[in-house]
């Protein structure tokens, strides 16, 4: 009896310890996950109670909503535009810094500063760099080599401009992850390869890349997930006086920007919830595919 009581008391302490976290977890994560799943099958504008409409929202999004497909296309362009470039360049940077070079920590810091800076601050800084006419720094640079000024934030170039800025901003973070991965590769493998007369390229292809695969998988999945959710950059770069997000003719409307507009500007919460679940679904599939690809490649 005494023992059972003691056990219960001990368990009570454990539940007390996790209680604050689980309260927050339940109210702001578990309940919301189910709430938005339910709302995705309803018409809901906050003021009136949700009205059940079955698969109507999903059908509308997938078959009758050109803006959704525009946003999806832009988002995919953004992912394809940022992820491979960022991975390639940050891997190069990590390998360069991993050499025994001077000022190593300085270089690390320089490349990492954008990663700690607020993306809002970065976006306003780049908006100024991209400024149209001759005062923008980029246009000035172009004109100094004889190219006429470009409208960086016009219909055609807004999305590419945001892509360039985002690659720049994300390099340092991926670099740190690759650096950790590189430092985890035992030096013996390189020495063995050298004994076998391997060139630098051979070493990169046959030692570095295969042994870096777990890091590569992690970086790729995380990069795709976060690129797919791009929002802040778009919000700042395309914000106009009417408060619309996404730019002229939705030229840079991304899927999360569209969700924001639907949910918090038009208060179509049911429709926005369905969008959220579609995002969830896509990211889930992307993760599964990535893991399958890597599983297949690790055979030796």
């Amino acid at each position: 009896m005494n023992y059972a009581l003691k056990e219960f008391n001990k368990q009570k302490a454990s539940y007390m310890f996790i209680a604050p976290s689980f309260l927050i977890f339940t109210v702001f994560l578990i309940i919301p996950v189910f709430a938005s799943l339910y709302w995705s099958f309803t018409e809901y504008n906050i003021l009136q109670p949700p009205k059940f409409v079955g698969f109507q929202n999903y059908a509308d999004i997938l078959f009758h909503d050109p803006r959704f497909w525009k946003a999806m296309t832009n988002t995919v362009i953004f992912v394809v535009g940022t992820v491979p470039t960022s991975i390639a360049v940050s891997l190069l940077l990590a390998m360069a810094i991993d050499q025994n070079i001077k000022l190593k920590n300085w270089f690390k810091t320089f490349f990492f500063i954008p990663s700690i800076t607020s993306i809002i601050a970065i976006s306003v800084i780049w908006k100024w760099l991209y400024a149209s006419g001759k005062y923008g720094l980029f246009n000035h640079f172009l004109s100094s080599i004889g190219i006429p000024p470009v409208n960086w934030l016009g219909i055609d170039l807004t999305l590419p401009s945001i892509i360039v800025m985002s690659v720049w901003g994300g390099l340092g973070y991926n670099m740190i992850l690759f650096l950790a991965g590189l430092q985890g590769i035992p030096q013996v493998f390189y020495e063995a390869a050298e004994v076998d007369g391997a060139s630098d390229w051979d070493k990169f292809r046959n030692v570095t890349l295969p042994l870096l695969r777990p890091t590569m998988l992690f970086v790729t999945i995380m990069s795709i997930i976060s690129a797919f959710q791009v929002f802040e950059q778009v919000y700042i770069m395309t914000y106009n006086s009417e408060g619309a997000v996404g730019g002229t003719l939705d030229c840079a409307l991304t899927i999360v920007a569209y969700l924001y507009e639907t949910g918090f500007q038009r208060f179509a919460m049911g429709y926005a919830s369905a969008l959220a679940y579609l995002i969830f679904f896509v990211l889930f599939i992307v993760t599964i595919i990535n893991m399958k690809i890597v599983e297949k490649k690790i055979e030796y």
Partner: protein
């Protein structure tokens, strides 16, 4: 070409290290050039931000744009703090970020300790649920969280900004991994001495996990200082804005006054930069260990 062929043929061993080291030197030079140009590209936008923020308006609109300031001025900063209540926004950000950081240190370590060292019914299932929840993109719970906050009457308040972020799956996970490495003997010894569970947490666990707490604190501080989306949907009055929100409004309303917007960007960047430089060691190590995005 011919020379090389002959060398190869003769198996001239002496020539190889020489050419190898020359090649290595070339590679090294290339690496430095690559890194220096790269660093330059990283730094220039920030230098441009700082330079612009100290320029008088007429210099911003002179051609060609220059990194040299002829008459440096604090006008943009003075404007920033007089036209809009930037001081208040700074305090808002500081209050919200500090409160969230302290709460996370406390709640995550508490839960992390229970998950690492206690045995209780449902422990592993709950932990799995917690870890699994990290897969859920934030868009899924954004809308209901907003509605819940509205129901609680916490829209446009510190409570609405702070309470939902007071603990997190990632923090608990980090703490648990770290606390698992603490030997059970220490805890058992404290138990024999008659310490209560909370005393063990306070006197034994907390002092031992200080490096992990520091990492969690820095991540949380930076992530929250830069947080934008949640304040964007929760805050509607101008008084309650946090720094990133204020900066976005500044961009919308005074977008053409670049000196002022850049001064705002400097104010937004400075605190995280200071924290980063001061605690760089913990920060980069923490990322390498966990892959957390700030």
């Amino acid at each position: 070409m011919e020379m090389r062929e002959i060398r190869k043929f003769n198996g001239d061993e002496a020539a190889r290290p020489a050419s190898k080291s020359k090649q290595q030197q070339l590679l090294r030079t290339f690496v430095y050039v690559f890194l220096v140009i790269g660093s330059f590209i990283m730094i220039v936008p920030f230098v441009w931000m700082i330079v612009t923020s100290f320029k008088p308006l007429d210099e911003i609109n002179t051609y060609p744009p220059s990194f040299f300031i002829r008459k440096p001025t604090l006008a943009a900063y003075i404007e920033l703090f007089s036209i809009i209540p930037m001081g208040r926004y700074f305090m808002n950000s500081l209050i919200v970020t500090s409160a969230i950081t302290l709460a996370n240190i406390f709640f995550c370590s508490l839960a992390g300790y229970a998950f690492a060292k206690h045995r209780f019914f449902g422990r592993d299932k709950l932990f799995l649920l917690l870890v699994g929840s990290m897969m859920i993109p934030w868009q899924v719970n954004l809308i209901p969280s907003f509605v819940i906050i509205k129901k609680f009457g916490w829209l446009n308040s510190f409570a609405g900004l702070i309470i939902p972020a007071m603990s997190g799956a990632f923090g608990i996970f980090l703490m648990r991994q770290f606390i698992m490495n603490i030997p059970d003997d220490l805890i058992d010894a404290a138990k024999i001495d008659g310490c209560s569970e909370f005393t063990i947490y306070r006197r034994v666990i907390l002092p031992l996990i200080q490096p992990a707490l520091a990492s969690l604190a820095i991540f949380t501080f930076m992530g929250q200082w830069n947080n934008f989306v949640w304040p964007l949907v929760v805050i509607y009055s101008s008084k309650m804005r946090t720094i990133p929100l204020a900066l976005s409004v500044l961009n919308g309303q005074f977008g053409t006054n670049f000196a002022m917007v850049m001064a705002g960007a400097v104010i937004a960047t400075l605190p995280v930069l200071i924290v980063f430089v001061a605690f760089q060691k913990y920060f980069i190590k923490g990322i390498a260990l966990t892959g957390l995005k700030a």
